[in-house]
Amino acid sequence: MLLIFSLLLIGFVGCLPRLSFIPQDSFRAPLILHSFSEFLNLYCVKLPTRATVLTFQLLSFRLQQLVSAVRAGVNPSSNLSNQTSLWDLSSSFFFAGTVITTIGFGNISPHTEGGRIFCILYALLGIPLFGFLLAGVGDQLGTIFGKGIAKVEKMIVKWKVSQTKIRVISTLLFILFGCLIFVALPAVIFKHIEGWSTLESIYFVVITLTTIGFGDFVAGEKGHLTEGGSENLEYLDYYKPVVWFWILVGLAYFAAVLSMIGDWFRVISKKTKEEVGEFRAHAAEWTANVSAEFKETRRRLSVDIYDRFQRAASIKRKLSSELGINATMNQEMTPGKRTLSANLGEDKETYPSLTLSLSPVPGALTRNGSLYLNGLSPDYADRQEIAIIENLK
C-alpha cells in the first residue's frame, strides 16, 4: 500500500516539470512558424512571378517528408560525399550495446523488418546475459572495494572509532570515490571532446548510467545530426570502445548505488514496521495481562468457595460421626434449643444447597447417605444437625 501511494506521489511530482517546460514550449512553436514565414518572405515573394510560389500547404508537405527522413536516420543537411554511414562496424557495435544494456538511445534504430525482428530476438537473449555480466562485474568491484575498506578500517581502528561510524564513513567514501571516477571524470572528458557544457555532460552521464538513455545527447555521434552538419568530429579509433567499457563499469557502480538507496528505503520501512509491531505487541501484552488477571480472580474465588464447602463438609462429617456416637443419647430439645433449631430451620434452604454441592465429593456422600439410610429421616436429621452445630459453636 505504501509503495502504491509513493508511486502515485511520484507520478504527481513528475508533473512538476511541466511547469518549467510549458513556457518554453509555447514560445518555441510560434518562433519556428515565424522563421518559416520569414524564410518564405525572403526567398519566394521577392522573386519573379514565373517561380512557383511556396504556399504553406506545400511547405507542410515538404516538412512531412523531411520528418520521415529524419526518423529514418538520414541526415538531411549534408551531401552524399562526406557522410559516414550510421551502420559501420563501430556504430553497430555501439548500437548492439545500447540494446542489451537497455539504454536504447534511439538516435539509431532498426528500420527494416528483418532488423526489427532480429532486434527483438537479440534483446531477449542479450539482456539476461548482460544482467549476469553486470552482477559479476559488480561483485568484483565489491570485493576490490571491500579489501580497500578493510585496510582503511585497520588504520582507523587505531583511532578507536566506533564500528557504525566506520561503516558510514566507508559508504560515504565509496559514493564519493565512485562519483569521482565514474561521473566527474567522464563528464570532464565528454565536455572536452564533444563540446557540451558542464551540465549537459553530467546530465548525459546520469541519463546513460541509469539506462534511461533519452538520446538527445549521445557520445560519439556528433557528426550525424547537428546544426553544422557538414563538419564531422574526428574521433580516435578507440574512443567508442572506451566509452563502452566506461558504460559497463559505470553501470555496475550505479547499480550498487541504486541498490544502496533501495536498502535504505527497506531499512526505513522495516523500522516503521518494527515500531508498529512493537506497538501491537504492547497492546497484546496488555490485553493478555488483563484477561489473565480476570481469570486469576475468578479462579481464586471459585477456589475460595470450594474451600468453604469443603470445610462445611468436614464439619458436617464430624457432626455426623458425633451424632453416630450419641445415637442412643436422649435427644431432648430444651425450649431454648427448640426455638434455636426453629430459627435455624429457616436456614434450611441454605442447607440443601450445601448438601447438593457437597454431593460431588463421593466420600462425604456415602457417609451422609449411610447416615440417612440408618433410619434417620432427613428433616429430623437436619434439625438435629443444626442444633448440634449450634451447640458446638
Binding site: 519556428i32 532488423g115 531477449l124 546475459l129
Partner: protein, 287 residues
C-alpha cells in the same frame, strides 16, 4: 543469483562472461550492419533525389536556401517540437504527457522523443531519476512477490496433481500474455495506424525498457487523442512491467529448483551474497 562452485574446476565466471558478452556484441554488430546498411543507403539516395526534385519544382529556392530551411527543421526536431502540422498541436507537457514522461524516466525506458530542454528541467530530471528508479524497482519487486504468493495460494487450493498445476500456471501465463502483449498492440495499431508488427515491436521495446523512441504512442500530430490516452498507456506500462517481474520471479525459482534437482552436489553461497547479486540483477534487468 547463486554462485556455483563446480566439484573440481573453479571457473572464473567473470572472465567467461566478459568473453561471451563481447562475442555476443560482435555478432550483433555484424548482423545489424548486414541488415540495415543497405536500407540506409537506399533511404539516403531516395532523399537526395527528393531534394533535387524539390529544387527543380520550386525554383525560387536554391541549394543553400534549402539547406537553411532544413537547419530550421532540425533545430525544431531537436527541441522536441514536431515541425509538421500547425501550432495548435496539443502541448507536449500537458498533464497526461508529463505523467507519461515521468513514468518513462522512473522505469528507465527513456524514449527520447521528449526530453527536458531547460537547465532546471535537466537538473530536476537527474535527481528525480536517482530517487525514483530504486522506488520503482522496490515497487515492482513487491508486486512480483505479492502476485507469486496469491498464485501459490490459488495452487494449493486446487488438487495437488502436477498436471493440473502445470495447466493452471500455463493458463495464467497465456492470459497474462494476451492481456499485456497482444491486446494493447492491437489497440495501438488501431489508434495510431501502425501495422500489428510495428505495434508489437513498440510494445517489446517499451517493456524491455530499451525505449528507442522511434515509435511512441500519442505523438502523431495529425491525430486526435482522448486526453487520458497517454495516462492509460503509462498505466499499461507499469502493470505489464509488474507482470513481467512476476514471470521473472517464477522463472528464477523454477530454474533454481531445476538446478537443485539435477545437480545436488552444487553448493550455494550465503544468503547475503545471493540477495545482493539478485538485487543487482534485478536492477540491471530493471524488472
Amino acid at each position: 543469483m547463486a554462485w556455483f562452485h563446480l566439484a573440481r574446476v573453479k571457473v572464473n565466471w567473470t572472465a567467461l562472461l566478459i568473453l561471451a558478452h563481447f562475442t555476443y556484441l560482435l555478432i550483433g554488430a555484424i548482423i545489424f550492419q548486414i541488415l540495415e546498411r543497405e536500407a540506409e543507403s537506399n533511404n539516403r539516395n531516395h532523399f537526395q533525389l527528393e531534394k533535387l526534385h524539390f529544387l527543380a519544382n520550386y525554383t525560387c529556392l536554391d541549394g543553400p536556401a534549402l539547406e537553411k530551411f532544413v537547419q530550421v527543421i532540425l533545430y525544431a526536431w531537436e527541441k522536441g517540437v514536431n515541425p509538421s502540422g500547425n501550432s495548435t498541436n496539443p502541448s507536449n507537457w500537458d498533464f497526461s504527457s508529463s505523467f507519461f514522461f515521468a513514468g518513462t524516466v522512473v522505469t528507465t525506458i527513456g524514449y527520447g522523443n521528449l526530453s527536458p530542454s531547460t537547465v532546471s528541467g535537466q537538473v530536476f530530471c537527474v535527481f528525480y531519476a536517482l530517487c525514483g528508479i530504486p522506488l520503482n524497482l522496490a515497487f515492482l519487486k513487491q508486486m512480483g512477490k505479492c502476485l507469486t504468493i496469491h498464485l501459490g495460494r490459488l495452487e494449493t487450493g486446487m488438487v495437488a496433481v502436477k498436471a493440473v498445476e502445470a495447466l493452471a500456471v500455463s493458463l495464467f501465463f497465456i492470459t497474462g500474455s494476451l492481456l499485456f502483449l497482444v491486446i494493447p498492440p492491437l489497440l495501438f495499431s488501431y489508434v495510431e495506424s501502425w501495422t500489428f508488427g510495428e505495434a508489437f515491436y513498440f510494445a517489446f521495446i517499451t517493456l524491455s525498457t530499451i525505449g528507442f523512441g522511434d515509435y511512441v504512442v500519442g505523438t502523431d500530430p495529425g491525430k486526435e487523442y482522448i486526453s487520458l490516452y497517454r495516462c492509460l498507456a503509462g498505466i499499461w506500462i507499469i502493470f505489464a512491467l509488474a507482470w513481467l517481474a512476476l514471470i521473472l520471479n517464477m522463472g528464477v525459482r523454477i530454474m533454481e529448483n531445476l538446478v537443485i534437482l539435477t545437480h545436488p552436489g552444487f553448493k550455494k553461497h550465503k544468503e547475503e551474497d545471493e540477495e545482493v547479486s539478485s538485487s543487482k540483477l534485478e536492477v540491471t534487468s530493471k524488472i
